[in-house]
């Protein structure tokens, strides 16, 4: 079974890209495969995972180890379970730096406190030696972020970094992520269900469905001028500003396809109102529908001069 297939996107230095899509659409899998951390019994079958010039799938164990947390760092969804309960928070940050050649052992030690201060942990000095259970959820996520940015990675992946947190601290965590990415000139991939968050934070948006990118483009374009039928429904299901804010309000008629019983043709066709015959048999390629905006849909392809050339992408 293929959970994630043929994902390819560009991200500029310092840019924040949002990945959205229903549960199970493969957002986390995409992020984890960038670090070659697919959980058992998952495997990377065939093909390449390219990050810049580097093929992650071909790296030796030592190369991938040096790559993880150093060039690409990841922040996970649940800060309550993502920190080791038996090690001091400060030590866990130090260890992230000590693992890589960028800083010496002494530098790693000296940088712990500044890092915790930088992620705005109150009274950081007193709390370096605390254990995770002595931290609140928000503070734990800050510690995770400190760990993530401690090696000044070029890319930071945040997988639903605020979903597990209290609404009151969500905004400050997001603000922190934005500020840090600016200061460190690091790119950020923000995986989220929260379209409002995407609208306010991301430069570009990637919409995923059934392990594929179905639409991609600048945030403005995606929100003002969504092309793919799935993106439409995604935006329509977005909570309005005047409603009480809830993260997982996305609900679209029908269910996302089961991995084992992936429909032929366009993976969205069982739920699509606009399907044509071709949708049932042939999967559409990702084609440019507007300058800088790509979508995977046959109906939209009609407007494109040369769909075959686009299909090469």
């Amino acid at each position: 079974m293929t959970a994630v297939d043929g994902i390819s996107f560009e991200i500029d230095r310092g840019e924040i890209v949002g990945i959205v899509g229903e549960s199970g659409s493969g957002k986390t899998m995409t992020a984890l495969s960038l670090l070659r951390l697919i959980p058992e019994p998952g495997r990377i079958t065939g093909g390449r995972i390219l990050y810049g010039e580097k093929d992650i799938a071909q790296m030796t164990d030592e190369e991938i180890r040096e790559f993880r947390g150093n060039e690409v760092a990841m922040i996970f969804q649940d800060p309550m379970t993502s920190l080791n309960p038996v090690l001091r928070v400060g030590f866990q940050v130090e260890e992230a730096m000590a693992a890589h050649a960028r800083f010496t052992r002494q530098q790693s030690r000296d940088r712990v406190l500044p890092m915790l201060q930088r992620v705005r942990i109150p009274a950081a000095k007193e709390r370096v030696r605390d254990y995770p259970h002595q931290f609140s959820g928000g503070m734990r996520q800050r510690a995770m972020i400190a760990m993530g940015v401690s090696n000044e990675p070029s890319l930071l992946i945040a997988d639903e970094p605020t979903t597990a947190l209290d609404v009151t601290v969500q905004a400050s965590i997001i603000e922190l992520l934005r500020d840090l990415s600016r200061e460190l000139r690091a790119s950020v991939i923000l995986i989220t269900h929260n379209m409002a968050l995407v609208a306010s934070l991301c430069n570009r948006v990637i919409v995923m469905y059934a392990g594929r990118i179905v639409e991609e483009g600048p945030t403005r374009a995606i929100f003002k001028n969504p092309q793919h039928p799935y993106t439409w429904s995604l935006l329509r299901s977005m909570p309005r500003v005047d409603e009480v804010e809830k993260e997982r309000l996305i609900s679209i008629k029908g269910l996302p396809p089961d991995l084992g019983r992936m429909p032929p043709g366009c993976k969205f066709h069982p739920r699509c109102k606009f399907k044509v015959d071709r949708c049932l048999t042939e999967e559409p390629p990702l084609g440019e529908v507007d300058p800088g905006q790509l979508a995977r849909c046959w109906v939209l392809m009609k407007n494109i001069q040369n769909p075959e050339a686009e299909a090469q992408r």
């Binding site: 670090l35 951390l37 959980p39 164990d61 180890r65 040096e66 790559f67 993880r68 947390g69 150093n70 760092a73 990841m74 996970f76 649940d78 379970t81 993502s82 920190l83 080791n84 309960p85 038996v86 090690l87 260890e95 992230a96 693992a99 890589h100 254990y131 259970h133 995770m144 760990m147």
Partner: protein
């Protein structure tokens, strides 16, 4: 720190109470058994019997005997051997307890060391031949009681080794030489090692799938550090909880093993004194065992918070 000391103090008081209580029960029960150490075929005159009874205070009412005995125990005096007049029980048992403790300590090393190594290997190589070998060995080891292993070892090391090596390498039963430690220690520790291995395997399989171990990989830590510092450290916590009952098991097991291997420890004394109806020593051995089990469990409970910072006294 002060909390810990207070806790230890409280526990020591409880251990003292339990010890006196356990030996009181033994005291009362033993006095219900008809006959005594002086009643045997060699004794002829009722006068000398009366003299013996007077010497040991056995002519006094049971209540008075009990009060005298308890006040003796509280002063660390377990009285005098009934069979060998003039032999004081406390120094005798202290000497024997140190022998038992030596065997027990090495048995514990075998138990924990072997158990952890096998458990970790089985977990890391889950569902490979290494796992199957380790797991089956654990089942066999667990189902064979230590006295069977003891006799088996005696046969191999005491007899066959002698023949195979034409008398150069062999194990001689008894005590006094360090080379006499490993064989009984392994026989005593092996069944419990299987138990530790099974528990470690299950516990490791759980921790290597946790979010914080995924975080550790994502940080780019070396595999050795992820396994030992992050997975094993946490996997040890449930293993330590069974250390208490385990030590109790080793203490009971030592009664059999010491008799098989002719080791002059508490366990051997226990059987000898019962057969000789030297009830003063029997009560003394029980008193020692009660205190030992209590102290062993206390030691485990004191180690526990060092392993899991979420626990504090």
């Amino acid at each position: 720190m002060r909390g810990t000391l207070l806790y230890i103090g409280q526990r020591l008081v409880l251990i003292a109470i339990t010890t006196v209580l356990v030996s009181s029960i033994v005291f009362v029960l033993l006095h219900q058994i008809p006959g005594n150490a002086f009643l045997n075929e060699t004794r002829t005159s009722p006068e000398s019997l009366a003299a013996d009874l007077r010497h040991y205070g056995l002519d006094k009412p049971l209540g008075t005997q009990y009060v005298n005995w308890v006040s003796g125990v509280l002063h660390g005096n377990l009285g005098e051997s009934l069979v060998n007049r003039g032999v004081m029980i406390t120094p005798l048992l202290v000497r024997e307890a140190s022998v038992s403790a030596t065997v027990g300590f090495f048995a514990l090393l075998v138990t924990v060391g072997l158990g952890l190594i096998l458990g970790v290997i089985a977990a890391l190589r889950q569902n490979t031949w290494a796992d199957y070998v380790a797991s089956s060995a654990a089942v066999v080891g667990y189902s064979v009681p230590s006295f069977v292993i003891g006799i088996f070892f005696l046969l191999i090391f005491g007899h066959y080794f002698f023949e195979w090596t034409q008398g150069t390498v062999f194990y001689n039963v008894g005590w006094g030489d360090w080379t006499q430690i490993p064989v009984p220690a392994i026989a005593l520790g092996l069944p419990y090692a299987s138990y530790v291995a099974r528990l470690t395997r299950a516990s490791m399989l759980e921790t290597i799938r946790t979010d914080y171990v995924r975080t550790a990989w994502a940080k780019g830590l070396k595999a050795r550090i992820v396994v030992l510092r992050h997975a094993l450290r946490n996997a040890l916590i449930p293993v330590v909880t069974i250390l208490g009952p385990l030590i109790t098991g080793i203490i009971t097991g030592s009664v059999v093993i010491e008799n098989i291997f002719g080791i002059p420890g508490l366990g051997k004394e226990f059987v000898t004194s019962i057969l000789a109806r030297d009830y003063n020593i029997v009560i003394g051995v029980f008193t020692f065992y009660a205190a030992l089990v209590g102290l062993a469990n206390l030691t485990v409970d004191v180690i526990y918070p060092a392993l899991d910072p979420r626990i504090r006294y």
